[in-house]
């Protein structure tokens, strides 16, 4: 086998430290000042990318693509940072990436982008992504992408992939109760929605950054536009949760007293 072809699908989300406020946009709900908010690569998609690069580095002949759908200007900003981390080839799709959009339409645009990658070989194909986004958080887009690509071996909440000597892949998925389900898939193609995996975020590598940048700018320039909307969804209301709590800040209370209060509190039904 000539290594894996790993296609990572990952979009951008507002920096988690930003305050988010819903507003009504032309096609449905949106975020206030959405285009002004600093963006980051969707965290679980980021883990998928780092795991993909790690797997590719251990398997000669492998290659990683990052298929990313988002506003071109925002993608450029985020790729400047992500491109320093691990080697990949960007496939950019120019379109909106908000949480209120319909995952069905997003999956269709991503499927078109993946199918258009030259030389994709199903026998070597692994499709990665985050198991849920930090925007819509549905865990649906990747599954529908898999169906569109006719990949019927799918895994969600993945924390580990281990290639076996016979070409099969052992995969650990999160299930209830803090456990992992361990499965063995005979061979690619397979689709994996990643949770956090087990790798720390790679340090910036200037050499990787230089190599990536040569291809990132042309990829952004030739990004195909995708028309993504809310589909058949009718939003009846979008609200922020209730205002802040009235916090009682307890200072100078003896430790014994604090402990007694906590034990009383946790013992109360």
């Amino acid at each position: 086998m000539g290594g894996y072809q790993i296609v990572v699908c990952g979009s951008i989300v507002p920096d988690p430290l930003q305050t988010l406020e819903p507003v009504t946009g032309p096609v449905g709900p949106a975020l206030k000042n959405e285009l002004m908010l600093p963006a980051v690569l969707d965290p679980w998609a980021g883990h998928a990318l780092f795991e993909a690069a790690h797997l590719a580095s251990k398997t000669p002949g492998s290659k990683v693509w990052l298929v990313s759908l988002g506003p071109k200007a925002k993608l450029q900003q985020v790729m400047m940072a992500v491109g320093q981390k691990v080697p990949f080839e960007l496939v950019a799709v120019d379109g909106p990436a908000g949480g209120f959009l319909d995952g069905h339409e997003t999956a269709a645009a991503l499927a078109d982008a993946v199918k258009a990658i030259p030389g994709i070989d199903r026998a070597r194909l692994l499709v990665f992504g985050g198991w849920e986004s930090a925007s819509r958080g549905a865990g649906a887009t990747l599954q529908m992408l898999g169906e569109r690509l006719e990949i019927r071996d799918q895994f969600q909440g993945v924390d580990q992939i281990s290639p076996q000597p016979d070409g099969s892949l052992e995969i650990m998925e999160r299930v209830e109760g803090g456990q992992h389900q361990v499965s063995l898939v005979a061979s690619p193609p397979a689709l994996l929605g990643w949770a956090t995996g087990s790798l720390p975020e790679p340090r910036n590598n200037p050499q990787v950054g230089m190599a990536n940048m040569k291809a990132i700018m042309p990829a952004l320039q030739k990004a195909k536009p995708a028309k993504i909307g809310v589909g058949d969804i009718q939003y009846l209301a979008v609200t922020l949760p209730k205002a802040q709590r009235e916090t009682r800040v307890v200072k100078n209370m003896p430790t014994d007293e604090i402990a007694r209060e906590i034990v009383e509190w946790i013992s109360k039904d």
Binding site: A134, S183, L184, T247
Partner: protein
């Protein structure tokens, strides 16, 4: 008129999971509100024990896909079973529990049926005679009420959002729906389960209390040295005495992943927040955790919140907790453990 399919897998013993009974309760209430037809559909290695749990649900039909091929949670066979049940029911709405097993296949099944899907629903409603749901966006930062026109519409209901259905009366007879399984659907084999690296099971979804340990437990203390071993004893001692579920901030589990000398029982599975879990517990106690927004979004469904922190200006004190004790968590938890031991 809508036909609502309550869809669930069964456990290994053939009974419905608790979240399944909750989804059944929600599907039944929605069917009554919409005057819709309710159909039940279950799949698994064994399904007969589930029949008695459907008793009194008002389901017009009870369908089942049963067999060894459906014993394990596997995309190929689970999706085939769910697709067959939805088609056999003629469902326009499918209500299912948001278990890991159904979350793996629901969107794929919706695609096959030419329908749409919404997951992590927190409530099902009847609005002007049509179904609607509520769910959160941007990791529990804002809540939306929405409906769809496309059918079938598959909805996964989060656990803990609706009272579980209580069966009464005689069990309906199950109508078996045949599903042919090809070798291509068996390319994946489930080998078993693995518990996280820990001395004890620390994740307890049904616990009344969530105990969160932040990175402060591993920092240098008043004597200028870290005391990770003491922290481990205090935390595990508290978990044993209180039966609480253990959560963590991202910074602490990241430290574990980077090989630092830290809390050995902590893994990414314990992580709460933006890139972790959003568990449901009546109470939560945060210790040595700053309570910044990316972490606190994971506390959206924790009702009563208290925190122990040395910093009186930490995030918890800014309206995110009900009570913040400005104190040393090592000292407080040692006293708490001593009090619990006396009980």
């Amino acid at each position: 008129m809508d036909t609502i399919l309550f869809l669930s897998h069964t456990e290994q013993d053939g009974t419905l999971p608790k979240a399944g009974l909750e989804a059944l309760g929600a599907a039944r209430a929605l069917a009554q509100a919409l005057q819709a037809t309710l159909v039940a559909g279950v799949f698994g290695k064994a399904t007969q024990p589930a029949a008695s749990q459907l008793a009194g649900s008002g389901a017009a039909r009870a369908l089942a896909v049963t067999g060894a091929d459906f014993a394990d949670a596997r995309y190929g066979t689970d999706a085939a079973a769910a697709e067959a049940l939805a088609k056999a029911a003629g469902a326009t709405l499918v209500v299912a529990p948001h278990t890991s097993r159904l979350a793996r296949v629901a969107a794929g099944v919706a695609y096959r049926l030419g329908g749409r899907v919404d997951t992590h629903a927190t409530a099902l409603l009847a609005k002007d005679g049509s179904p609607a749901l509520t769910r959160w966006f941007y990791r529990q930062r804002m809540e939306a009420t929405l409906k769809r026109t496309q059918r079938p519409w598959l909805i996964l209901l989060d656990a803990g959002c609706h009272p579980a259905f209580r069966p009464e009366g005689g069990a309906p007879s199950l109508e078996e729906v045949p599903v042919a399984v090809a070798d291509a659907q068996r390319r994946t084999q489930v080998k078993g389960f693995k518990a996280p690296k820990s001395d004890a099971q620390t994740i307890r979804p049904d616990a009344k209390l969530l105990f969160v340990a932040g990175a402060g437990w591993t920092k240098k203390q008043a004597d200028g040295k870290p005391h990770a071993e003491d922290a481990e004893k205090l935390i595990l001692g508290f978990l044993a005495a209180s039966k609480a579920s253990l959560g963590s901030s991202k910074s602490l589990v990241d430290l574990s992943g980077e090989g630092n000398a830290v809390l050995t029982f902590m893994s990414h599975l314990n992580q709460i927040g933006q890139t972790g879990a959003t568990p449901r517990h009546p109470k939560g106690l945060a210790t040595c955790c700053h309570g910044e927004e990316p972490h606190v979004v994971g506390w959206r469904f924790v009702n009563e919140r208290r925190a122990v922190n040395l910093d009186p200006n930490c995030g918890w004190a800014r309206g995110k907790a009900d009570v913040v004790y400005v104190a040393d968590a090592f000292e407080v938890m040692a006293k708490v453990n001593a009090l619990l031991a006396k009980k």
